[in-house]
Symmetry: D3
Subunit: 302 residues, 6 copies
């Protein structure tokens, strides 16, 4: 083997930078597995939208068998991942952290209990999306093809997991949707029913956002933080409300950027490409100034 390579191996072995997270040689408490979590999300798609993604012909008499089986499988796989997620945050590195195990089991059951609620919320999002897009042909197409629904399904699952107190996993799940759709909704955001996203690429909804009923947003919209206070060590202070509140019936067009803990009053319409860092009254319409339409007549490029 080349000396150069042996030298590289030695350097990397001795490197202190981001040391591998677990060091107990018998521990089975690895990090949650992204590939297992993808399988879990696919299982949840089968449970929430039976007959759409599973290549199975369902009817009234076999539905209960498939749901029963899928939820039992969900329970087992999700329990394993939640346990890993809990241990990732706890200090006990022995093989079988009993506390995390019990904890994870209770949280798994609690999450399963919330599935009907999640399904109901998603049904309102599908309705809003269908009614809001002249290009959509029927509700099945919305479920099957619309990236906004894909992102909201991931978000609504992740949000409940976060509320139940599960670390790390909610973020992994919303990042899956981010990667596939370009829509980045933090699992901590609060979003009421009948939420519609069109196209979606580039949307960012921050951790402390609160969004009312019947809101619609387009691609490239940012609901972000402005700046954030630092503690005495110069580190950002975690957990402060720093993202917008969007009230009921608001529409925000593509590319709009709304930053900070501002309130967009109900029934308002925010035009595309605007930049907002202060409150907007109810029933407002905000547009970018038309003055930017300057016609050059010379041949110069930009």
């Amino acid at each position: 083997m080349e000396a150069k390579i042996l030298d590289t191996i030695t350097k990397l072995t001795q490197s202190k930078e981001f040391e591998f997270p677990f060091i107990d040689s018998r521990s089975e408490n690895l990090m949650p597995s992204t590939s297992e979590l993808e399988k879990i999300v696919n299982l949840l798609l089968d449970i929430l939208y039976p007959g759409y993604f599973s290549n199975t012909i369902l009817n009234k008499s076999n539905l209960q068998f498939y749901l029963g089986t899928n939820i039992d499988k969900l329970k087992n796989s999700l329990y394993q991942q939640i346990k890993k997620g809990c241990c990732f945050n706890c200090d006990n590195t022995t093989e079988n952290c009993e506390n995390c195990g019990n904890n994870a089991y209770e949280k798994t059951l609690e999450f399963i209990n919330r599935l009907p609620k999640i399904k109901h919320l998603l049904s309102t999002d599908i309705e809003a999306t269908f009614l809001g897009d002249p290009a959509s042909k029927n509700r099945a197409e919305v479920i099957y093809c619309y990236p906004g629904i894909k992102a909201l399904t991931h978000y609504r699952i992740a949000h409940e997991l976060l509320l139940i107190g599960i670390p790390l996993i909610p973020r992994i799940i919303t990042e899956m949707a981010h990667s596939k759709t370009g829509i980045d909704i933090h699992p901590g955001a609060k979003i009421a029913e009948f939420f519609a996203i069109d196209h979606g690429t580039g949307i960012v909804i921050g951790e402390t956002c609160e969004i009312g009923k019947n809101v619609k947003i387009y691609q490239g919209v940012t609901l972000g933080a402005k700046s954030f206070p630092l503690d005495e060590n110069g580190n950002p202070i975690k957990g402060i409300a720093r993202h917008p509140i969007v009230e009921d019936n608001v529409v925000i067009y593509s590319g709009a950027t709304i930053l900070g803990r501002v309130k967009i009053g109900k029934n308002s319409m925010i035009g595309g490409n605007v930049w907002i860092t202060s409150n907007v009254a109810e029933n407002s319409k905000i547009l970018q100034r038309r003055a930017n339409e300057i016609v050059f007549t010379d041949g110069a490029g930009i």
Copy 2:
């Protein structure tokens, strides 16, 4: 099994929300399969760009064998999916909807017949992309790595399928490209030859857009609808022309938003981040007002 879980299974079994789409217990007419359609798109890549994606060494004498085999495979797989797509929209839920079967077969042959045309259009897009990007090293790199070409390949396939009258599948195919590239071109849009996309993430091209020859657009450009009329029930009226017309030789820079049935006259240049909702005359140059470059000298954050 925990009572909580059995309760959830019961609730979900009885849920009326978005019931599974097919209910006939012997039907084989499931929804089109996303994974089958991905294989079909990969087959089409092998047919349209022989030697690029297939890990096969082609030459003049073996090319016909590979093309013949791939097109025969395409015929069989595409026929199955088109049949599912047709049945998805028809009312006949018996096992073998003869009408959809015949229909699907004719449409499959018609689509195959259009492959040389699709290949020709894509060759013009590749040429335009290569000439328009100083960073591109050769045409093979453009075919192999450029997300714009990936998105256009999906779009041009989907557009022909739509013209032939195939439901659902064109939208699934353009969403594949949307997910991989962040470029969202509705299969209904009409795009002439020599179309170039650079970077591409966040581009939206709506259902009734019409784009002329030799047009180039950058990342984050929206060619969208403004608002749309509702029918007496408050539902959007489908199928009305509501997206921009972009004439020949137009360039649109990153982040520009053009909404509604407006016309961008030929040879125009639209600068980045502008917001346009009315017609632009031929040979125009539209830029965002420089006035936004305000220099603050105090230490305040945004």
Copy 3:
């Protein structure tokens, strides 16, 4: 077989458009394989972040075995791909281009030698990302879930490969990250340590950008070219510096577009959605004019 299909096969067989790249019937010098390069990037993730992505429990005594094995595997697979990449650009189409083989082997060793440097640079990016985001819980979460780190890992690998003189492959690797994260960093860009990306979707960083230390950018930021000179044949002249220089400690907010060989002076802050095509002095703060906040009171849509 239908006459229509045979006719299509004939037409496609005779098509002269983008002929398959290799024509020697015994050549093994196919194009680099995207799927092999994905495996190589996963191997590099295991080497750079041991214990994070490999489902393996590492400790001080087994780490050297895993690193040794992974680097040996890397050497073999990367060598094969680099050889294909070299041959893709050379004129020798015989089976075993000895020159490319030797070349590829030297380049492979050189790349492996740079792994500790790549790891160090990434550790600074992780630190900057963690400190800059109040929503991040710990450094492990940043490594595991943040798309910005995924994109930078691909970029820093690809950049070193480019510096060593390997064609095509660097671009394929950054496009992988582009597809997964919506972040498009050209491998030719120069980026110093402690670089942080938040959210990231829609970011474009062009081929000749130069970015200083401790810079932070948000989603939708473009660091692009304005226009570029053509040669006497109307083709763009390759390799001219045409993208921005961003100095140390600059922050650029979401949706900002900076075009051309302009300099953003150190310690500056560029607000969201602005459009910049000329130099910005040190310590500047540039914001979009607030004047765009126009409130309509009538009921008209946009």
Copy 4:
């Protein structure tokens, strides 16, 4: 392409030997798929031996869900294969042979109805195997590891399929077991309960064998045909009873060969390596003559 190869392609294309079985270009009625049938057999293993092969933790409350799901899946997959099997034998080459479809559906239901009977018969075989082998540790080990049980499971499934009148598939299923275990039981053989096979490699049980209760056979035993009458064309006449009848409580040791329509009377024991072509009375013990134990004292090899 080399002339030699083109020549071979032409020769093989024009070859008339065993022409491919289906020639209608739109037919979906391909031959039954061996890989689909392997999945079906694995599904049947999960149904017949719940908890053994499925990596699932079963209990009284979730068992019904898994059984319901597996039987529903079985119904769909088996129906497809049975339909192919029926069409393989019928003359109708149109796409959807309605007759075969209806037929196949009835046969599928009938087979599912016989699963409890199959399970019961196998439970007696397991009991007999466990009691008959001092090396077996418990019944679970017998189910999990014993090739005799694997072969009998395949046989008992195939036998019922044959009785229901399904062509080709029963033979494919017993050949799967033959390949894995070296035990070749023709699906037409009739075998009563409490049948035990030890080791098993090389066992052959012919099409018209009839085996009573509580019979045990060892590896290398042949229950075969002697010779068979030919018809006027010199072809063997099909369907004539030509294999042994083995009555209750018989044991046959390794390597014994019993040929023709002879009867082995109840309670008999057949020693190893014997060759029997005529009836054996009840309660007999047949052994190979000891006379073969000849001791050579010279140094010659065999």
Copy 5:
């Protein structure tokens, strides 16, 4: 769903026959997994025969990395399976049987410690096989292609696992070899070095066999039990020595059957197809009586 099917589900749900082995709803202590054990055996092939089965180019400097990694992986996977095997036999059905866990860990280390011994024994078997077969071209071919070596590799691994006191798994491992090679060696048999098997199909070597050095056996040889005593309940008494002892330098030709606790004296040769149930003196040659060569001259079939 058809009533017939629902009826079958009910019957199978209520069936008491071979109830699924584990009933605690939270238990992770499933049965050992055959597919995991196949991966473990493949890992052992890589460890015992480095460079033969792994598609890796080994040399003096990288060998230690591969061995170290493979043995670390072996430790983790084997530990999991041994733990399942231990729990399969113990009464504790709680999630984490601490006793079995500790036990399994010690046994895993002990097994790893015996790998050099296993490798040495196999090297003698390879030598004996190579020297004993004029058709073998070199030792590498023997390792790579000979079913006898495949069976012995499985056996020698399984035998050590059995000696260490691991239940169930040794039998699963020898059955893997039985299925692939038709050679059925019980893991309990004792076999000294330089053992050669030619062809092998149909060989059976029983649980209490003892085989000396430098023995060679051919296909179809049975070293089995004659009959075995029953206890007062009519069940076979387990663990009694009931299979042959074969001393050093014996050769046994194809199809020979040797039954019971008999001794085949050293340097003997047992001819093909013989049936032996009593001791054979040292230096004997036993052949089947030639008298069976009867020439019929009439035209009758057998």
Copy 6:
């Protein structure tokens, strides 16, 4: 890491037993790959039996495309493996052994040229098998399910490869069939047309066998070597004719063992379980002496 494990790694690293076969660190000349050879055999099945194993609907017009594609793929994969096989035997360990490469390419073409001959011989074997088995329903069933045809297909492929002078690979291919069917035909044996195997498990046909036309053999038949001369070092002398010659129209029943360079004269019939080590005249019928049918009347076991 446990000291025991580190100790094992050290011991195994230093072990001199069967050192890995290749030691040049840049060599790509690994051993032929069993998994690649399995794919090659499956490709050959598609070529020799079009429409049987490929899940493709073939007809007169698409057949040439599939054959052309499959033979081109065969050429590429087989060439790679033959090259590895050649290098395995040669002394040149540099990366690209040009001699082996050229050699391998010629041999690959030569083999492809022999495919029509192989197909013809197999068609006679299928005919003989169909006519000889009353249980066979049609020729398609024989092709699809009969292990004898599977073994002969492997053998006839391997035999031609051996005649062309390719090392190692022929043996690997016949061992594949041996593992799946229990039929062990050495690739060196010479077998004329119309050869039929029934059941087949346990059949051994040695390296220097010569078998005439229209021969039929049953399960458990050995055509083996008796003993073989050693050279001055005690090693067996390779390549001496030492297996039986079986002339035209011979039938050999199950379990017969024929050893040594003896001739079985044409039209003879060899009964089951006999042991033959000398010539048999034409038109003979050899049976095991009936005298072994001894009836015991006492209750003693064997």
